[in-house]
């Protein structure tokens, strides 16, 4: 039996699939957010050094991880779209960009809230903060370039090229600011084990998974809107129930 592996790479078939998939990601995300934050705020013990203020870690760390991870995924999709000329990949890249920017912003914001009690300053020019800020700029550049080109195919390709150049440059930027200055604490969770309390680990991990599921749900919802917007002149869109009503 031949399986058509590329069936869902067409926007018209993926539109329906994405609509069916969203609840499977959105609901677990909501439940895991609630569980993770409950454990984080009520079950996890108070930190010996940082007392209660450390609890923002449960939002800060997952947001930071995802802001970087989403950039790679976005650049990957954009590259796929550029190389194989698949429309859906470019749409996915476009759909992921605002969420990535949002997480980069949340990461900076919660970091500032954490920095005030810990370091006594909302903002310090530290390597991690600076590179996260640059990551936010890169997201904004991607969104701005995509938005300012009217022809969607040119917009996709131009933004894809920018995302690829950015992803090559991200390690360079990361190391340049790292050598330049640093104050941010090192990673607590390492491959070799961690010094964290079990409840803290669990809460952080659960929120991370929740954020991840949230990203997928939101990206699918947004890609559906992008598909509708771009394919509005096609017959299959006009035959959709939600369009006709």
């Amino acid at each position: 039996m031949a399986i058509n592996w590329f069936k869902y790479s067409a926007p018209s078939t993926f539109y329906g699939l994405a609509g069916k998939l969203i609840p499977f990601f959105a609901w677990p995300a909501a439940i895991l957010f609630a569980t993770g934050l409950y454990i984080g705020f009520f079950v996890a013990p108070t930190d010996a050094v940082q007392s209660e203020a450390y609890r923002i870690i449960f939002i800060h760390v997952p947001a930071s991880i995802l802001s970087m991870f989403i950039y790679l995924i976005m650049a990957g999709y954009a590259a796929l779209g550029l190389i194989f000329n698949t429309r859906l990949s470019s749409m996915m890249a476009q759909a992921l960009a605002p969420t990535g920017a949002l997480f980069a912003f949340i990461s900076l914001w919660t970091g500032a809230l954490w920095g005030k009690p810990m370091w006594g300053a909302w903002w310090v020019w530290d390597a991690r903060l600076t590179s996260e800020l640059i990551l936010l700029f890169l997201y904004l550049g991607f969104i701005a370039l995509q938005a300012s080109i009217e022809d969607p195919r040119r917009a996709d390709k131009a933004a894809a090229l920018l995302a690829i150049v950015g992803s090559v440059n991200v390690p360079i930027i990361y190391f340049s600011v790292k050598w330049w200055n640093t104050l941010h604490q090192g990673a607590t969770i390492k491959m070799t084990g961690t010094s964290m309390h079990v409840a803290m680990q669990q809460a952080m991990f659960i929120v991370l998974v929740a954020c991840w599921l949230y990203v997928i749900a939101v990206a699918l919802a947004r890609v559906r809107s992008i598909i509708l917007e771009r394919e509005r002149n096609t017959q299959w869109v006009n035959e959709l129930k939600e369009v006709q009503s």
Binding site: I134, L145, S148, L161, L162, V165, I173, V177
Partner: protein, 227 residues
Amino acid sequence: MNKLSLFGLLGLVVRRDLLLAMRRRTDVLTTLVFFVMVVSLFPLGVGPEPDMLRKMASGVVWVAALLASMLSLPRMFSADHADGTLEQMMLAPQSLSVLVLGKILAHWMLSGLPLALIAPVLGLQFDMSVQALWILVLALLLGTPVLSMIGAIGAALTLGLRGGGVLVSLLVLPLCIPVLIFGAGAVEAVNGGMSAVSNLALLGAFMLFALVFTPFVAAQALRISME
């Protein structure tokens, strides 16, 4: 027409762009005046204490150079785009990457090189030591080509767009941060009594790395923009 070698083509493009720029000298001069003005604004803004000025001189000169080179970026391709020359260049049998490299070189000679040459004068205004001035010029000579090269990608991507000038800065500035850090770092290292070699070596590495990849990427960007 006899067939051009790659270097012949490169020379031709550079000569042509320089000639065109010399016919409209104000464009080049405005960038330079802008650079001088921005640098001169800082002592007015933060106050004239020589100690503070000496400390911030390299950073101020670098940021101003970055802004000045952004200012001249939209011009890299726009005139050729407007009169159709760019389309003819893309149809040419020679490598588009080399053509782009020629335009980048010409752009650097008209924006980066004059900035590097005038920087010592501005450095004197900030009471920099002679040794620091030499390092500043050297760092600018190594770093500004990278700005032109990365900028070429942004200029090619935003070709013919509304508000392209602001957009190109938004795209290119974050990518230029490493150059800024190590360029300003070279002078700071000398001021701190250390050797500037590591910073300069990294700047040189950036330049070589950019020299290999950016003409090709900018050529791809032009192809996307001209479709």
